[in-house]
Symmetry: C2
Subunit: 335 residues, 2 copies
């Protein structure tokens, strides 16, 4: 079973995924690509993945056969495992926890090679609905405290399979970075009695220089202090801490702005590798006046090197005002 | 002038290095290599770098000419600049500071292509002495609060020049990660009245399973909760919070263990890209009962992707007991 271990000095948890147990000789440049053209995420490869936990758009088809438009399966090589007890223990000054969790793969499209900017708004809406449906389902498991959903696109951003997919990891703890966002937002709220994200949105909309695009419900900005060039945050304009509590009718609007954001990025930097992460409130604290769900989008243009590892500080060569202006002024023409 | 900007939500500072101002078209795969074989860090290239601020081993030679065995110069493309006032200001809810700092390059050897495992112990000792001498010199500038020294080796770890070098950045703030180490160590000290690093060393030496190598003054361990495969920490066995307060006679011993550590790593994973970072106490708090200087060594074998960006949590496929055993049992033969 994988282990969660906490660093006693900085309080940072790591997952030691023993089952993936890599010795030095295993660290070759992996060409995990599709063996002789076979992709386990394509229709027809259903038998090579664990059985699906969710599928959309399969009227009259049997589970785990082709016909779906979106499919969610457990990860075949999970970082955390679903069976077992939490079981915390000490080892001298150290803390260990069993690596209990869920690790799922959201197969975003049946069409191999299709990327997000090429998808229809309806397809993207399905992705966001799948995120919600899986969070709602997994939240029933009382062992889980937090669910992070993220996407790695492109090999340089960590994707080992080409077929468009995102991932979900359910965790038995609230991760440090989310906890820091929450603690810091709460401190702001105690002082101002306002949500710091709402204040950021207000300032960005009235200033305008860091706005990439917006619709009536959502806005995408280049954040004031971006870690990387062309980093973007997508936020709902109205305060809401929990992604899953979003009203149904908003998912189409979310798909619309997200698609516009990703198309702008792709026009500026064609096929740039990227990561995005959905940040929402912890499972047991759905409604928070001081926290605000959002999506963080990080194009992979610079490297995390010694300075960043040593300080938690980032050097970014592109001011967000410039990246926002560039993305905002992209001619979107006819899609 | 570069800007320091603070994220209002998480409190994370970033350096917006406008002068490096990159537009989308600038993000091509950089082959910064040596143009027609010319290396600005080699002897003979002294006129292409800013004038040196330190050089060792040049009896009777004029500054900025060949003959040195180690040389320190300001970075030609600094992330922070040395001239100017600190000047903090707000912009609505945001915090900005002028990007005042120092950014220097420690040219570790005159021999192009020589890597640390190939150096003599005397040469490595010079590197560690240079770190100390530069920190002592820059600490006199009251605008600086922290100095981080780090090395990027190999393109995948962020090195843009092949010639062996490390970097120094003097900062007007204590970076978040260091502050977290200090705050967390202080909390431990308040509870136990002991340094958490000293307790880690004590436990590791008596357990032994995560020890890579040691001598009478220093120990290298694979930390209990490593962020990446083959991560190592090198620590002085006796409590000391500040690197610069280390006694002169210890530098040879430090060079010895460091060289052994890097040679073991290089035998396990030949020419693996890596980063290392020197963590020492902030400039204005040299003596701390609860903090302990150390070097963190991070081989570059995995990628920071969506999960790590989203959570500050790491998935590591190699247990530290395995990596330490592997490194410990390397046959070092005759060097």
């Amino acid at each position: 079973m994988p282990e969660l271990r906490r660093d006693p000095i900085i309080g940072r948890w790591v997952i030691i995924a023993k089952e993936r147990g890599k010795r030095p000789s295993d660290f070759v440049i992996e060409e995990e690509k599709t063996k002789d053209g076979f992709c386990p995420l394509c229709p027809g490869g259903e038998h090579t993945t664990p059985p699906e936990v969710l599928a959309y758009g399969r009227p009259g088809y049997a589970p785990n056969t082709p016909g779906w438009t979106l499919r969610v399966v457990p990860n075949k090589f999970p970082a955390l495992v679903i069976e077992g007890d939490l079981d915390k223990q000490g080892e001298g000054i150290y803390d260990i926890m069993n690596g209990i969790g869920a690790h799922e793969v959201i197969i975003e499209t049946p069409r191999h090679g299709e990327t997000i900017p090429q998808m229809t708004q309806d397809q993207v809406k399905l992705i966001f609905l799948a995120y919600r449906d899986r969070i709602v389902d997994l939240a029933r498991d009382i062992r889980f405290r937090y669910i992070i959903i993220f996407k790695n696109f492109g090999r340089a951003a960590g994707a080992s399979l080409e077929h468009s997919h995102s991932q979900l990891i359910a965790l038995p703890i609230v991760p440090q970075l989310i906890q820091e966002e929450i603690t810091s937002s709460l401190r702001y709220f105690e002082y101002k009695e306002r949500c710091v994200f709402c204040d950021v949105i207000h300032q960005e909309l009235s200033d305008g220089s860091r706005v990439v695009c917006e619709n009536k419900d959502f806005v995408t900005i280049a954040p004031f202090a971006p870690r990387a060039p062309f980093e973007m945050w997508l936020l709902p304009k109205k305060h809401r801490s929990s992604y899953v509590s979003m009203d149904d009718w908003l998912f189409g609007s979310l798909a619309g702005i997200f698609l516009e954001t990703m198309r702008r990025l792709n026009k500026a930097l064609p096929r740039v590798p990227y990561n995005y992460m959905l940040h929402t409130s912890p499972l047991r604290d759905q409604t928070m006046e001081y926290y605000h769900w959002h999506i963080e989008i990080m194009p992979k243009l610079t490297m995390v090197a010694g300075f960043e590892w040593g300080t938690g500080f980032y050097i970014n060569p592109t001011p967000p005002e410039e990246s926002a202006k560039f993305l905002r002024e992209i001619d979107m023409g006819i899609q």
